[in-house]
Amino acid sequence: MAQNPQATAAVPDLSVRLGPLRLKNPVMTASGTFGYGEEFADFLDLGCLGAVVVKGISLLPRPGNPPPRIVETPAGMINAIGLENVGVEVFLASRLPGLRERGVPVIVNIFGNTVEEYAELASRLDGAAGIEALEINISCPNVKQGGMIFGTDPAMAAKVVEAVRLSTGLPLITKLTPNVTRIGEIARAVVDAGSDILSCINTVAAMAVDIFSRRPKLANVMGGLSGPAIRPVALRCTYEVVRSVNVPVIGIGGITGAADALEFLLVGARAVQVGTANFINPATAVEILEGIERFLQVQGLAGIEEFIGTLDTGCLFPFAEESCEWIDLKQP
């Protein structure tokens, strides 16, 4: 199968360490875009994935928003699902066991309406076997009561993370929203509060209207934009967050192929999550994995660690080095 002389080289090491979390490779699937994993079992071998992040879970089941809940936009889609989910009890009893059997590390995305709910949820999940980490969703733009408020205010965000930290010994990932002016500030606050890892970004606040019916295209009026349309925004956020904190960062947003994923790793993300692309090609995550492996082989790299965070932001015009001092991007 070797298409390239270098392709016969040893298989590159794809394993990554994210603080307390060790993954066999850096490719995960993003919350809300991969169901509870089972839905994709016909299309790919779940066991190949670095991890599966399941749909956001709350203490009690939630019915979600009235339809229409989604709308397609140029190179993207806006969703206002309203965090529909089966609730933590049903998740533990009937979704988690099946997923564990597939041999894939499970990360549970959690959200609550109050700090106490987050904490209670975390302690319910703390005791359950087969959960690798928790991802705290403080960034969903759809729930009026909670999400947006927690994720956009550094003090509130820190409170949630502190409470969760006290309730569980599991590795904690905090998922950041791009809908803030200074994402680095929120990042620092949640790391100080005890988050081991950060992931970014959640969806970008957005809306779509119909000029003929003069109605919003979503029943919720506003929703969250995802897909290739947000990738440059996500990349910038990831870069900013990487430079603001010294914990591992997971890059998310518009990744559809290996090259996209590598962009995030290049700017310093230690892993990526694939979201909307799962809808377009249910085997995307595995194809990305294969693509990264081929890229490393062609580049002659022994492992993904040799590539992560190697972005060269030096002067674009080396002959004029002195006049480039003003663009010193390496300084935070």
Binding site: F34, P63, R69, E84, T276, I280, N281
Partner: protein
Amino acid sequence: MGKMQEDARIIRNEEVARMTWLMRLHSPGIAARARPGQFGMVRVREGIDPLLRRPLSFHRIHSGKGEIELLYRVAGKGTWWLSRCQPDSLVNITGPLGNGFTMPDNPSAAIALVAGGIGIAPLFELMVRISESRSKIKAEKMHLFYGARSADELLPAAVFESTDVSVHWSTDDGSFGFSGYVTELLEEWTARAGFRPTELFACGPLAMQHNVARWALARDIPVQLSLESLMACGIGACLGCALPAVHPGGSSAEHYVHVCKDGPIFSAGSIQWRKIRKQQLPSPIFPCD
């Protein structure tokens, strides 16, 4: 057999009625698995615009030949691109998805079907299967009530010759058959003929399906409806394709079903019709570049 993703080769793609195209595909994996009433998610084009796949029902399933047919109305960007696809090129399809129709307990009983416009698409394979399983001697007449806005949007009568169905035509503008809505034709004809179907199948615009549902519920006739919703994944992962439904526990609590996995075939009584938001007007088609 589960779901799969397949690069289907186009055998034929042609306009068979106004804005209505028939695409025949070589898709052996899906053809072997599919049942009437199920659908596929079709990637109309490589690239990121349009980004999402389009849900299309299986119009015909030729499992022996490894072929399927899709009947689609050019309704916007995605279906327009699909109509541009040439024979021998490939289209990626995931499927078969959804629950599909439940075959009638007694296929020889008095069965009626109601199709509004492109709603004929999923009903055709069902009619073929029912026709095949009927007792030629004892079967009651099977009736199809088939309406469209205008005569040029209807499939030609000849295509129904292979089935065991008598077709009752209607057009909104009166250009062919009964003048008026197909649900009016259903009501009028059944009353006049004293015909009471034992079972009903329907597909078409939401308003039409709602009327069929009301008609059937009032007469206590079981009905299977093929419903639509906006979809992103088609496999139960995004939860985007929700429709308001009657709570299974009988409570008044908010409850949603998901068209791609709980449907697209639903019984009339399971949907909370009143809670479905006013449908968007179909946007006029802009010229595609």
